[in-house]
Structure formats: structure tokens, C-alpha cells
């Protein structure tokens, strides 16, 4: 099975690989995995509390090329979006952008799950802080 040029590009030059301090109250961390293929994906967002805009996103994925490309693309899309906009990102958009074949659709689902997990983690942390303010 041939990977699309975009997948190869993200695989060879993954964007935003790395990690942020998960204890930072403005950082949300999403860790998801797919037991079937052994993939594990960590995706983090850093949110500007004043604007609610995601100012940085990092990921680290152990898995196939499509899983790496899906999460790499996800971090590109996340930057500059508000948390609510980010919540709207659908796996089908990732599938279309990367031209993923049906057998690799689950990689995009994993990326969407990682985004949602990161946002939920951020919100969970942010709520008590706002109550105190």
C-alpha cells in the first residue's frame, strides 16, 4: 500500500514533535492508544487563558506512518484555534487532507480522540482555577 505524498511528508518531517510540562495548568495532555496495532499517541496543547486560543501544540506518536502523520497534522491545525474550534476538528477532515485509505482511517480517529482528550484535560484543570478567580 502506498502512502500519499502528504503522509510521507509528515512522516519524514513531523511538525511539532515534543512534549510540554503536563503539570502546567495551561497545558492539556491527551494520551490515547490503539491496542490492535500497538499505537500510542500523546498530544498536548498549551492554551492562552486570556483568549482561549491554543498557542502551542506538541505530539509524540509511536505507530505507523499514518498515525504519525495524523497527529502531526492535528498539531498544525490546532495552533491558533480556540479550544471550542479545536473541539470541532473531525477525523474525516484528516482523512481527506492526508488521503488516508480505509484501512488507515482508525489512525485519524485516534488523532481526533487525542485532541479531545487533550482539551478535556485542559478544561478539567482550568475549571478549579476559574472558580478561585
Amino acid at each position: 500500500m502506498a502512502y500519499s505524498d502528504k503522509v510521507v511528508d509528515h512522516y519524514n518531517n513531523p511538525r511539532n514533535v515534543g512534549s510540554m510540562d503536563k503539570n502546567d495548568p495551561h497545558v492539556g495532555t491527551g494520551m490515547v492508544g490503539a491496542p490492535e496495532c500497538g499505537d500510542v499517541m500523546k498530544l498536548q496543547i498549551k492554551v492562552d487563558p486570556a483568549t482561549g486560543i491554543i498557542e502551542d501544540a506538541k505530539f509524540k506518536t509511536f505507530g505507523c506512518g499514518s498515525a504519525i502523520a495524523s497527529s502531526s497534522l492535528a498539531t498544525e491545525w490546532l495552533k491558533g484555534k480556540t479550544v471550542d474550534q479545536a473541539m470541532e476538528i473531525k477525523n474525516t477532515e484528516i482523512v481527506n487532507e492526508l488521503a488516508l485509505p480505509p484501512v488507515k482511517v482508525h489512525c485519524s480517529v485516534l488523532a481526533e480522540d487525542a485532541i479531545k482528550a487533550a482539551i478535556n484535560d485542559y478544561k478539567k484543570k482550568a475549571v478549579p482555577a476559574e472558580v478561585n478567580a
Binding site: A34, P35, E36, C37, V103, H106
Partner: protein, 176 residues
């Protein structure tokens, strides 16, 4: 559940491997092609088909893991499908850390080797533990079948698959 039917078994998760083998041999003799040499072509074809089903059934049911997967599939669970994410978060963390260590070793950092050896032992223990859990859950299900128990079994199967994949990778690198 054809695999259970062809062996004349009720829908139980706990199966005795000796009894299972005896059932398999018995049914194999009944379905042996020699017995159908002079039968109608349609009857002969049916026996052959049943015999092939029997072989698949025995191969699947004699292994507790593939048996449980088969069982769950026929109870409407999406076992083995990509997209099942029923894995505890702590395990994901461990899987992630172990992958990090593997990557360091791959990039030539030998200092990761002892950490990997420790991790391998830990994951081997986790594997044994999940096998015990399966045995207990099989018994619990057979005593009183419940959807909740099947869901627990699916969780263990997913965890087990993750651990197996990792052990394979780690052993591959440690033996190099």
C-alpha cells in the same frame, strides 16, 4: 455460534482442553470423507464443509484468547477491530515510556538497555497477570453470564494485545 455447535458444546468460556480434543477427534471421525465416499454428492459436500468448519472451530476454541475473541464477537463486541480503545490510562503511560526507551536504544543510546530489560520483565508479569484474570472472568461468566463480565474480558484482551506487541518489540531489540 457455529464453532460451538459443530463440536456439540454449550456457550461456555471455560473449556477443558482434553475434553475439547476428544470431542474434536470424535466429530472428525464422524465427518471423515471415507464415510461419505458413496453418499450423494450434496451430502458429501455438506460433510466436507462441516469438517472444515470443525477444524476451524477446534483451532479457535482450544486457545483461550482466540476463544474469548470469537465468543465476544458473537455477543456483538467489536473485538479485533481497529478502533477499540478500552485500555486503562496507566497502561498507556507505561506503553509510552517503554516506547521512549526503545527509541533511545534504537538511536544508539545503550544506557536504555537495563531499563528495557526491567520493563520486559514487568510486562511479562503483566501478561501472566492478564491470563489469570481471563481465567477468573471465564469462570465468573459461566457461573452467571453477564454483559458486564464480557466487557471486562474485552478490556483484558485489549490490554493483553498491547502487552504482547510491546514484548515482541522489546525482545527484538534486546536480542540484537
Amino acid at each position: 455460534m457455529d464453532f460451538y455447535r459443530v463440536l456439540g458444546l454449550g456457550p461456555k468460556l471455560q473449556l477443558n482442553s482434553v475434553e475439547l480434543q476428544q470431542l474434536f477427534y470424535g466429530r472428525s471421525r464422524e465427518l471423515h470423507p471415507d464415510r461419505f465416499a458413496r453418499a450423494e454428492p450434496s451430502v458429501r459436500a455438506a460433510a466436507l464443509e462441516e469438517s472444515s468448519l470443525l477444524n476451524d472451530a477446534y483451532r479457535t476454541l482450544k486457545d483461550p484468547v482466540s476463544r474469548a475473541e470469537y465468543f465476544l464477537k458473537h455477543r456483538g463486541f467489536d473485538i479485533g477491530e481497529q478502533g477499540t480503545k478500552d485500555v486503562p490510562p496507566e497502561l498507556l503511560e507505561e506503553v509510552f515510556e517503554l516506547n521512549m526507551a526503545l527509541e533511545e536504544l534504537k538511536s544508539g543510546d545503550e544506557s536504555a538497555r537495563p531499563q528495557l530489560a526491567t520493563a520486559r520483565d514487568h510486562f511479562a508479569a503483566l501478561l501472566a497477570q492478564s491470563d489469570d484474570e481471563l481465567t477468573n472472568l471465564f469462570a465468573a461468566h459461566d457461573a452467571s453470564p453477564a454483559e458486564a463480565v464480557l466487557r471486562q474480558i474485552r478490556g483484558v484482551l485489549n490490554r493483553r494485545r498491547y502487552i504482547l506487541n510491546l514484548l515482541r518489540d522489546v525482545n527484538g531489540y534486546l536480542s540484537n
